[in-house]
Amino acid sequence: MGTMLEVKDLRTRFHTREGVVRAVNGISYTVDEGETLAVVGESGCGKSVGMLSILQLLQGTTGRVEAGEALFRGVDLLKLSDTEIRKLRGRDIGMVFQDPMTSLNPVLSIKRQMTEGLVKHLGVSRREALDRAIRLLRLVGIPKAEELIGEYTFQFSGGMRQRVMIAMALACEPRLLIADEPTTALDVTIQAQIMNLVRELKDQFGMAIVWITHDLGIVANFAQNVQVMYAGYIVEKADVGSLFARTAHPYTIGLLNSLPANGADRRRRLIPIKGAPPNLRALGGGCPFAPRCGRAAERCRAENPALAELERGHQVACWNAGEGL
C-alpha cells in the first residue's frame, strides 16, 4: 500500500486582534492508501484546523498556513492555486463535518446540493447526476431516495442529514475521506449506525479515512492508527492496539483516566487532568502539557520534546516516555 497523503511540518497560525494563535505547530504524518487514521484531541488542539489547512479551507478566516508541505499523491496541496485545489476537493478528497444541522445549506434542495459537485467534477449531465445521487442516497441507507432527494434538509433528522453529508462526500468516489467529528452531534444509537455505515462504505470504495474525533471509544472501535494531538502538536502516534495497551504520553494517559471504567461494577473515582489547555497565543518554549503534567520536570518546562520512536510504530513526544508509569 502506497502513501496517499504525506504532511510535513505543517504550521498554521491565526492572526487575531489579540495576537497570534499558534493553532498547528509543525505536525507531520502520513496516510496510506486504504488506511483509517484517527486524530484524537480535545477542542482547540488543532486537529480540525490541520485538516482544513491542507485543503486550503481556511480562506475567509484569519488563518494562514505558515510552513509545511502536504503531498497528496505527490502533489503539494498547499502550493496549488485556488482553481486547482477546487478541482481536487470533493473529487479526490471528500469531507464530512461535525454538525449535520448546520453543515448543509438550509435553503437548497438535497438534489441541488448532491448534484452540483457531480456536475462540476465529473462533467455529467444533470439527469445522470441525479440518477447517481439517488443511488448514493440509497447506498447510505436513505429510504425512498428518489422522493426525498427533492426535499430540504430541515425536514431530516440529524442522522439522516449526516447520511446525506456522507453521500455527498462520497459522490465522486474520493480516494481520501476526511471525517471531522461526524458523529459528535449525534445520538449514540445513530452514531453507531453512522460508524457502521462508514465502515461498510470504506470496504466498498477502498478509500483512506482520516477520522477526527475526541472520543476514544470511537478510536478503539474504528481506527487502525491513531495520533493524539495537544496544543497544536502531535504528542503520541501509534496503532490502536499499541496506544491503548502501552499508553505512553501523560496526556493520553490522563484522557483515559478521565473516562469511567468500563465493564466492571466497581465504581472507580475519575482522575481528571488538572488545569486547562494552554492559551495558544502564549505558548512557551517548553512542553505544552508540562503545566498540567504530574511528572513534569525542569526540562519539560524549558524544552519541547520531539516525537520519538518508543517502539516500532509507536511514537511519543515526552521526555519521560519509556521510563515506565
Binding site: E42, S43, S157, G158, G159, M160, D187, V188, T189, I190, Q191, A192, Q193, M195, N196, H214, D215, L216, G217, I218, V219, A220, N221, F222, V240, G241, F244, A245, G254, L255, L256, N257, S258, L259, P260, A261, N262, G263, D265, R267, R269, L270, I271, P272, I273, K274, A276, P277
Partner: protein, 326 residues
C-alpha cells in the same frame, strides 16, 4: 416506588405537552414532550436519566422545577405539590431546587461579570446581607468550585467550557440548594473536562449532601455517577433500576440497544463486541406510534406491542420496566 431511603421528590403522572402552530384557521398540534412519568428521587441519591435527544428528558427536568407549568400530574417536594404555586409561593422552593445547564456558552449572560452572575441569586434570596458580604460569599463559592477568586471581575467569554460550567454550578450553589437538576452538564465538554466537572459534582454532593437528577445521553458517565438510572424514550420512562442492576440485566430492548451502541475505549473489548446498531430513528413526538412507542424499532416487537401501551411495572426489586415482552 420508593427504594431505600426517603423520597425527596415524588413525580406522579407528569405530562408536559406543547402546542405548536395554531392560530388563525390552523389546527394546533401537540408535542407530547413528557407523556406521563412517575418516579421518586430519594434524598441523597443521584438519579440518572438517559435517553436520546428529543426523548423529553430535559423538558422533564425543567417541568419538575416548574419552569414549565405541567400539563398534568404532580411534582411534590417533601410532600408539597409545586404545580400551581404562584411565583411568590414558589420562592422558598427555588432556594431548595436548582438547575445546572448543558450549554456552557448560553447558560451565562455574556454581559455579566462572573461575580455578578454568582452573586445574583443572593440579591433575591439573601436580602438580609449587604453587597460586600454578597461579594465575599461569591468569592467563597468560586473557591468551592475550584476557581480563582480574582475572576469576579471578568466576563464569561474569557473562560473555557469547563470553567464556565463550574461558574454555572457556583451560581446554583449560591442559594444552598438541596436538590439540583443537572441538565446534561457535561455533554458539551471535552473528555478531560468532563471528568473535572463530574468529580466536582461528586465532591459537592459529599460536602453538602445534595441530591441530583443527572440528565445525560452518555451512558457511561451516567453509570459512573448515578445511584439509580431511568431510561427515557419518547416522553416516557421505559426502564428504571439501580445502576448495576440496569447494566447487568437490562430488561427493556431499548436499554439493551443503547448499551450495545456505546463505543467502548478498549480495542480488545471492541474486537470482541462489535457495535450493534438499532435500526430506524426516534419517531416524532408530534405523533408517537400507537401501542408501545418503541415497537417500530424493536427487534422483539409482536402484535401486542402495536396494540396496548405497556404498563410500567416493577419486575424485580426496585427494577421497573415498561415492556410487554420483559
Amino acid at each position: 416506588m420508593a427504594g431505600a431511603g426517603r423520597a425527596l421528590v415524588e413525580v406522579r403522572g407528569l405530562k408536559k405537552h406543547f402546542s405548536v402552530g395554531g392560530g388563525f384557521l390552523q389546527r394546533k398540534k401537540t408535542v407530547r414532550a413528557v407523556d406521563g412519568v412517575s418516579f421518586d428521587v430519594i434524598e441523597g441519591e443521584t438519579l440518572g436519566v438517559v435517553g436520546e435527544s428529543g426523548c423529553g428528558k430535559s423538558t422533564m427536568g425543567r417541568t419538575m422545577l416548574q419552569l414549565y407549568p405541567p400539563t398534568e400530574g404532580s411534582v411534590s417536594y417533601r410532600g408539597v405539590d409545586l404545580a400551581g404555586l404562584s411565583r411568590q409561593e414558589l420562592l422558598p422552593y427555588r432556594k431548595k431546587i436548582q438547575i445546572i445547564f448543558q450549554d456552557p456558552y448560553s447558560s451565562l449572560n455574556p454581559r455579566q461579570t462572573i461575580g455578578s452572575i454568582v452573586c445574583e441569586p443572593l440579591t433575591l434570596h439573601r436580602k438580609d446581607i449587604g453587597k460586600k458580604e454578597r461579594l465575599e460569599l461569591g468569592r467563597e463559592l468560586l473557591r468551592k468550585v475550584n476557581l480563582d477568586q480574582s475572576f469576579v471581575n471578568r466576563f464569561p467569554h474569557e473562560f473555557s467550557g469547563g470553567q464556565r460550567q463550574r461558574i454555572g454550578i457556583a451560581r446554583a450553589l449560591a442559594v444552598k440548594p438541596e436538590f439540583i437538576v443537572c441538565d446534561e452538564p457535561i455533554s458539551a465538554l471535552d473528555v478531560s473536562v468532563q471528568a473535572q466537572v463530574v468529580t466536582l459534582l461528586e465532591d459537592l454532593q459529599g460536602e453538602f449532601g445534595l441530591t441530583y437528577l443527572f440528565i445525560a445521553h452518555d451512558l457511561s458517565m451516567v453509570r459512573h455517577i448515578s445511584t439509580r438510572i431511568a431510561v427515557m424514550y419518547l416522553g416516557r420512562i421505559v426502564e428504571l433500576a439501580g445502576r448495576d442492576e440496569l447494566f447487568r440485566a437490562p430488561l427493556h430492548p431499548y436499554t439493551r440497544a443503547l448499551l450495545a451502541a456505546i463505543p467502548v475505549p478498549d480495542p480488545e473489548y471492541a474486537a470482541r463486541n462489535p457495535i450493534k446498531t438499532l435500526e430506524g430513528e426516534i419517531p416524532s413526538a408530534l405523533n408517537p406510534p400507537r401501542g408501545c412507542c418503541f415497537h417500530p424499532r424493536c427487534p422483539m416487537a409482536g402484535p401486542a406491542c402495536e396494540e396496548g401501551e405497556p404498563a410500567f411495572r416493577e419486575l424485580g426489586p426496585g427494577h421497573y420496566c415498561a415492556c410487554h415482552k420483559a
